[in-house]
Structure formats: structure tokens, C-alpha cells
């Protein structure tokens, strides 16, 4: 066996870092600082608390935690932060990127190979970034006979729909972008958009293989949406609410998978089909129809569709966690915030604090996020696993599975839920 690992030299790595730092400093001194000086010459500075706000003073204030922390705290309370960063897009995209990396490494281990290895020195962690750069730099080719506006819109709409799905997921108590009372109905509405986007993009490409793939995706998603919705009705019956935050909160003692395992299994299988994962990846079956409805996408359009796919994967896994595995609930593992920082610490002659903006995140939120992420990653792992084990199934087998077996099982689940409710095990007067 040959040695596959290149020789990693720490000295060369440090030298490359130092080189980069040198160039950054040099460019900043020669170009950056004069440019800032010229800009400042034309700007009239405000007077705050009787002091002229010079850049020096502004930087001083930024380095002062008593002034900086309230600013960060205020930023975090805005809707923009929620949409762009924490429970919304940024958090989901980070988890989706991690999912892609874990999928590639895990599949590689399963198949007795190494997987991404070279890019990023440590086990190829920068491979995804490299792939993204490649996709961005590639030319976008559009078929001559395509319906161009629709073809351009499809990837953006796909990511938009996936992001809308992500926005409905409660990550921690109070941390959700859109806390709507009809949360679960909104989820069904968003899921209903995906087949439309798929068939629009497939049809607008005006090519045979995408068309067949789009028709297959339409069949698959529409026929699996019904068992998907029916399998979640059990949870709605026992909790009596459609609000996802309340469903999460209702599972503080036990997750619903304990009482509704049939529904959880049906939801998991339909989830695989909605996500077009193996063994249900018929719309992208490469040996039959090249890449299905993705055939004509190139460059970053394909990258956007992939991003949307993995956002959708995260959102479905999170929905499974919220509905069946107890959402953010879990034993308290995060230590409480040190109280003395709020009143200030005296260290000999020096008194540090008090810091008015603290704590940035409360204990319940950190703990909730921790358990939510742990559970979601576990569910994602089980979504990825069939890819290494199963071959693809055929469209007629898929449709008969969806229309006969899964719908029947979903009804069984509803009857179980009703039985639990009327027997008094759950609901008012029962366990909860």
C-alpha cells in the first residue's frame, strides 16, 4: 500500500500563515489607512456626551465591554439576526454544510475508502469550500430552447422555499423566526411548493431527461405528501395544537415517539421520499435519466439547488425532532451563568464590571439548542445511512408503497392517537 497522506510540515504551514499576515499588514498600511484618512476628512463627526466622536474614540468604545455588550444584545433582539443568523438561515446553512461533509466522510468509511482528504489539511474539512468555489467559478449554461425566466427562477425559488421551511422550526424556547399558531399547516403549505418548483424547472428546461425526472418528482412528492400529512395528525390530536413551539413544549416529560411509533416510522419513510434520498432518489436516477430534473443546471444554479436540498434535509430532520423526539427538551447540562459578572468582580485594587449586556444567551436557550442540535444530527445520520445500503427502487413500487401501505399505517397511527386520548392516557386528566 502506498502512503496516501502528504507530508504535513508545521514549519511550512506557519510560514504560509505569516506570509499572508505580512501581505495583509502591508496592504493595510499602504492602501487601507490612507483611504480611511481621506474618507474621514470629508465626514462630519457627531458629538456624543459632549465629546467629538473621533475614530480613535469609537474604537475605544468598541473595545469597552460595558458599551459593546448592550449593542450586541440589541442586535440579537432584532428580527434580522433571527432570520439571517441564529434560528434561521445561517444556523441551518452551517448544519447543512456539516451534513454534506459528514455524508461524504461517513459514506466513504462505509465503502472502505477515505473520502475528502487533501483539501484543508485535516481530513479534508475545506473540501466543501473548494467545491463551492468551483461551482461559483463555472460558466452557467442555459439550453437554447429553455424558458429562460422560469429556468433562472427555479433554483432561487427552491432555496427560498427551503428557507421558508427553516424559518418555521423552533430551535430553543422562544427562538423561532416565525412563531405562527398554524405552524404545522404552514409547514404543509411550504412542502406543497416543492413539487411545483420542481415541475416548473423541469418543464422550462425543455429537454427530455429533466422532463421525465420532473414528472417522476411530481408523482413521488404528491403521492407521499398525503401519508406525510396524515402521519403528523396523530401528534396534533394528542397535543391539541398546530403551533410547533407548543408541540415542542408539550414533550417535556416524554417524546411522542414513545406513544406514536407508527407515525414516526411513516413520517421517516415519507421524509426520505420527499427529500429524494436513496432508496427514493428516482427523480435523479443517473443510470436512467442522467440527473433527472437537475440535468440542465450548471454552475452555481446547481449549487443553489444543492443548498436548497440540504436546507430541506435539515428542516425535515428538525421537524422530526420537534414532533416526535421532544424538540429542545433534555436534561440541563449547561452550567448556570456566573452571577458575579453581573455585579462586577473585585480583583484586588481593580474592579471589573458590572457588564450591563450580560448574559447574551440565557441558560435555557443554550441547553435547548444543545439538545436540539444533538437530536437533529442523529436524525440526519439515519437519513444519510440508507444511501450506503439500499439500491434505488422503481417508480411503480414507490407509488404502491405510498398509496397503499403508508396511508394505511398513517390511519392506524391516527386511531392509536385517538385511542390514547379517549382512554384518558393523554390529554386532559391524563399524563399531561
Amino acid at each position: 500500500m502506498s502512503v496516501i497522506a502528504p507530508k504535513f510540515k508545521l514549519s511550512e504551514f506557519v510560514k504560509s500563515l505569516l506570509d499572508n499576515i505580512f501581505w495583509v499588514l502591508l496592504l493595510m498600511t499602504i492602501v487601507g489607512i490612507p483611504a480611511v484618512q481621506i474618507a474621514l476628512f470629508y465626514i462630519e463627526m457627531p458629538v456624543i456626551h459632549g465629546e467629538l466622536l473621533t475614530p480613535f474614540l469609537a474604537l475605544t468604545w468598541l473595545a469597552d465591554p460595558t458599551r459593546l455588550l448592550p449593542v450586541i444584545h440589541a442586535l440579537m433582539a432584532t428580527d434580522f439576526f433571527r432570520i439571517a443568523a441564529f434560528p434561521g438561515f445561517g444556523f441551518a446553512a452551517l448544519l447543512a454544510a456539516g451534513t454534506i461533509f459528514i455524508e461524504r466522510k461517513m459514506l466513504a468509511k462505509l465503502q472502505l475508502r477515505v473520502g475528502p482528504f487533501y483539501c484543508g489539511k485535516i481530513e479534508g474539512i475545506l473540501q466543501l469550500m473548494g467545491d463551492g468555489l468551483k461551482l461559483i467559478s463555472k460558466e452557467i449554461i442555459i439550453p437554447a430552447k429553455a424558458d429562460k425566466p422560469l429556468f433562472w427562477a427555479a433554483p432561487v425559488l427552491f432555496v427560498g422555499a427551503a428557507a421558508a421551511f427553516v424559518a418555521l422550526i423552533p430551535v430553543a424556547p422562544g427562538w423561532v423566526v416565525a412563531d405562527v399558531d398554524m405552524g404545522l399547516l404552514a409547514v404543509f403549505a411550504v412542502i406543497g411548493f416543492f413539487p411545483i418548483i420542481t415541475i416548473l424547472s423541469a418543464w422550462s428546461a425543455n429537454s427530455k431527461f429533466p422532463f421525465i425526472g420532473g414528472i417522476r418528482a411530481l408523482f413521488q412528492m404528491v403521492s407521499f405528501e398525503i401519508p406525510l400529512i396524515l402521519s403528523l395528525l396523530g401528534v396534533v390530536i394528542v397535543t391539541g395544537t398546530l403551533n410547533l413551539s407548543e408541540i415542542s413544549a408539550s414533550q417535556s416529560f416524554f417524546p411522542w415517539i414513545v406513544f406514536l411509533p407508527v407515525g414516526a416510522i411513516v413520517f421517516f419513510i415519507t421524509m426520505l421520499a420527499e427529500l429524494e434520498r436513496i432508496p427514493f432518489d428516482l427523480p435523479e436516477a443517473e443510470s436512467e435519466i442522467v440527473a433527472g430534473w437537475l440535468t440542465e443546471f450548471s454552475g452555481m444554479m446547481y449549487g443553489l439547488v444543492q443548498l436548497g436540498t440540504y436546507l430541506k434535509l435539515y428542516a425535515f430532520a428538525a421537524l422530526f425532532v420537534v414532533l416526535f423526539l421532544g424538540g429542545w427538551n433534555g436534561p440541563m447540562v449547561v452550567p448556570p451563568f456566573p452571577e458575579e459578572l453581573l455585579v462586577g468582580v473585585e480583583m484586588g485594587p481593580v474592579k471589573v464590571g458590572p457588564f450591563p449586556g450580560l448574559p447574551l444567551f440565557d441558560q435555557a436557550m443554550l441547553n435547548g439548542t444543545f439538545w436540539f442540535v444533538i437530536k437533529t444530527v442523529g436524525v440526519i445520520f439515519f437519513i444519510l445511512l440508507p444511501r450506503g445500503v439500499f439500491p434505488r427502487i422503481r417508480i411503480d413500487m414507490l407509488l404502491s408503497l405510498g398509496w397503499t401501505k403508508l396511508i394505511g399505517l398513517a390511519f392506524v397511527n391516527i386511531f392509536i392517537a385517538l385511542g390514547l386520548l379517549y382512554a384518558g392516557v393523554l390529554g386532559p386528566g391524563g399524563l399531561q
Binding site: 465503502q111 436516477a285 442522467v290 439500491p391 434505488r392 422503481r394
Partner: protein, 378 residues
């Protein structure tokens, strides 16, 4: 006339409902060929395989080179199975040149040929796996194939295109301690391919997907002239290693694997069983091989023939019966070399099998025919 043809070979009337798909040559599910498929919804109404994209004129090239210099280029059509594709040519050339082969060389040839059959079948199995969307079944055979390739490299000096068989024996003797290494690797290899049952051949999704699709009945298999694993999967006990033993196959105990179903599943399972049989044959040959002796009857660089002659020799390759017809007019170069390959004969069954199947069954039925496009084009 049309009534006598099998139904898949009759011409179809054009219809507006019918969509024509060009599967290949630039398609992940075709190989180096094109299959023109006409579909009505999800059903295939007609299929027209169109080989010929990798035609290299091997047979014509053979007419300009003498019996020795023909060896390196005649193995190019199936580089994974290069020993087997040279085998009938070498047997024929030996008869034309009138030379005897030492006993040890015959055993070395059998070992090399069986190893090569496994190497080819592993490659075929890897592609069968990825055609069904099973990526693990693509990586495992491709990785385990390395074991035998390393063995062949030790034996012949090359990883794929060995050019090891020459008229009069084999090019080189076995390296020292080869018997032990070979036995150990083959035993490991057999243990390893038995594990494929758990992940692939006993997989309920695979069985429900391929069982009962593309059924080739016993009569049709004979009528269409199929050969090799396709024929054996249709319930016909036919293996040239048993029926017309060449070299030392008559001294070895060769078991023929036959399945009755004739569907894609049986056609994919027979080559896998054949690999285990190959391991058995290798073990037997390693026991019976003479421990010393010459492996090659020396020839002059440009050997003379005995005069005008015609020979037809055939062997059992990874894809079935592989024949070589050599016409000699007494010159140092052959007058005509014609290869009758198993791939092309199995491809004839494709339009017949795909008619009425679903589009999703196309890759599994197509690749289960044990077809290698480059060999069919030659």
C-alpha cells in the same frame, strides 16, 4: 417472416404518444454505445441498440502483423479480461504454427485466465451496482478487485493489459513463492465476495426490483444465440470449460452454475457464483501444477507456418463463449482473424428483453446481459 421473429425484433409504428430517448453515447447509463429507446409513459415500446462507437478495426490490424506481434493489440477490446480474449487466438496460433505447450504452462494459463475472469466480473459487478443506484456495491468490488490485480501484476508485470499468453506457453514463469501468495489472496477474496450477499444479493429492495424483470425463457435464450452467464441464468447447462475442455480444464473439477429464472436477478447472480467457482478452480490448479519445468516453447521472432490452414478455437470468457477463427495462407501473417465475441451475441437479446419493460428496469436489464461495448465493436 416477421411472425417467426421474436416480438422484440419486429418494427414499430410511430405514434405521437411515443417519445424517443437517446440513451448514450454520452449518458451515465449506457457505456460506449447508444440505445435508442422509445417510451410510452414509463413503458418501453421499442429499443434499438446501436453499437459501433469504439470500433478499432482489430481484425483488420491482425492481417498486417505476424502471429507474435498480434498479441499486444488483440487484447485491447477487453483489457480487464485480456488473458481470456487472447486465449482462443493463442490456441489457434499454436495449431497453425504446430507447436507443443509444456504442461506447466497450461496450468499457469488456467490460473491466469481464472484470475482475469474474476477481475472482469468484479468490474462488471461494480457497474451493475452503480446502475442500480447502490454506491457501496460500486466501491466494494472496485476495491477488492485490486487484490487480484496485484496478483496479476506479480505474475505478468502489468496491471491490466498483460500480453501474457504467447503461442507456445506463457511469457514468464511464476515468481518465487507465487503459489502461497495466490492461495492466500484467493481465499481472502472468496471470503470477501461472500459478504456481498448481505449487502447486495440478499437485499430485499434489489430482489423486488430485479426479480421477474427482463425474463429470457430457455427457448428464447437458445433462439437468440445468447451465451455465457445469460444462457446459464436461463437454465441451460452450458460451459465451454466443461463441454469442450481446452488446455487442462479436463483434469480439473469444474462445476457449472445454472439458474432457472432467466430474469435480471438470475443473470446478475450467476457471474457472482462463477467467481467462487473460479476460486475453486485456481485452488485445484495450484495443487496440481508441476512444481518445475519449462513454461514456454521458444519460437523465432517471425515464426513460419506449416502451410495453408484454417482453425476455429473457442474458450469460455467472462462474457461467455469467445471464438477465434484464423485463416492462414502459409505466410507469416494470418490471412484473416475473426473474433466471435460473447458480448455481441448477448446484446441481440436486449431489444427483445426491454420491450414492454419499465424505463427504470432498463439499466439493470441492459447490464445484466454481461455486455462489454468495446468487445462487441472490436
Amino acid at each position: 417472416m416477421t411472425a417467426e421473429l421474436p416480438p422484440g425484433l419486429a418494427l414499430q409504428k410511430a405514434d405521437e404518444r411515443i417519445m424517443t430517448l437517446n440513451v448514450g453515447p454520452q449518458h451515465p447509463g449506457s457505456g460506449h454505445m447508444r440505445i435508442v429507446v422509445q417510451i410510452d409513459g414509463d413503458y418501453i415500446v421499442a429499443c434499438d441498440p446501436d453499437p459501433g462507437y469504439v470500433h478499432r478495426g482489430e481484425e483488420k490490424m491482425a492481417e498486417y502483423r505476424n502471429y507474435i506481434t498480434n498479441i499486444p493489440h488483440l487484447e485491447r477490446p477487453v483489457i480487464h479480461d485480456s488473458c481470456n480474449i487472447l486465449y482462443p487466438y493463442v490456441l489457434g496460433a499454436e495449431e497453425i504454427l504446430g507447436i507443443e505447450v509444456p504442461e506447466r504452462a497450461k496450468y499457469v494459463r488456467v490460473i491466469a485466465s481464472e484470475l482475469n475472469r474474476c477481475i472482469y466480473t468484479m468490474y462488471w459487478l461494480a457497474i451493475y451496482g452503480i446502475f442500480l443506484g447502490h454506491s457501496t456495491m460500486f466501491m466494494w468490488p472496485a476495491g477488492d478487485r485490486e487484490l487480484l490485480i496485484d496478483l496479476m501484476e506479480k505474475m505478468t508485470g502489468a496491471r491490466v493489459t498483460h500480453a501474457h499468453f504467447v503461442p507456445g506457453g506463457v511469457r514468464n514463469d511464476l515468481p518465487p513463492n507465487f503459489e502461497d501468495t495466490c492461495l492466500r489472496q484467493v481465499n481472502y477474496f472468496e471470503r470477501r465476495i461472500k459478504e456481498y450477499a448481505a449487502v447486495f444479493y440478499d437485499n430485499p429492495v434489489l430482489i423486488s426490483r430485479t426479480r421477474g424483470t427482463g425474463v429470457l425463457s430457455r427457448q428464447d435464450a437458445i433462439r437468440l444465440g445468447t451465451t455465457g452467464s445469460v444462457l446459464r441464468a436461463s437454465g441451460i447447462d452450458y460451459d465451454l470449460r466443461v463441454k469442450e475442455p481446452y488446455d487442462v480444464y479436463d483434469e480439473l473439477d469444474v462445476h457449472t452454475n445454472v439458474m432457472k429464472e432467466g430474469d435480471s436477478y438470475a443473470r446478475s447472480r450467476v457471474p457472482w457464483l462463477d467467481m467462487m467457482e473460479s476460486c475453486n478452480i485456481i485452488r485445484q490448479a495450484l495443487q496440481k501444477i508441476p512444481k518445475s519445468g519449462s513454461v514456454r516453447t521458444k519460437l523465432k521472432p517471425n515464426p513460419k507456418t506449416k502451410g495453408p490452414a484454417t482453425v476455429y478455437k473457442r474458450v469460455e470468457s467472462g462474457r461467455g463463449s469467445l471464438g477465434c477463427y484464423i485463416v492462414s495462407d502459409g505466410k507469416p501473417e494470418p490471412y484473416r482473424v475473426k473474433m466471435s465475441v460473447g458480448s455481441f451475441r448477448n446484446l441481440i437479446a436486449l431489444p427483445y428483453l426491454l420491450k414492454g419493460e419499465k424505463l427504470g428496469n432498463m439499466p439493470s436489464v441492459y447490464w445484466s446481459l454481461n455486455y462489454w461495448p468495446v468487445e462487441a465493436d472490436r
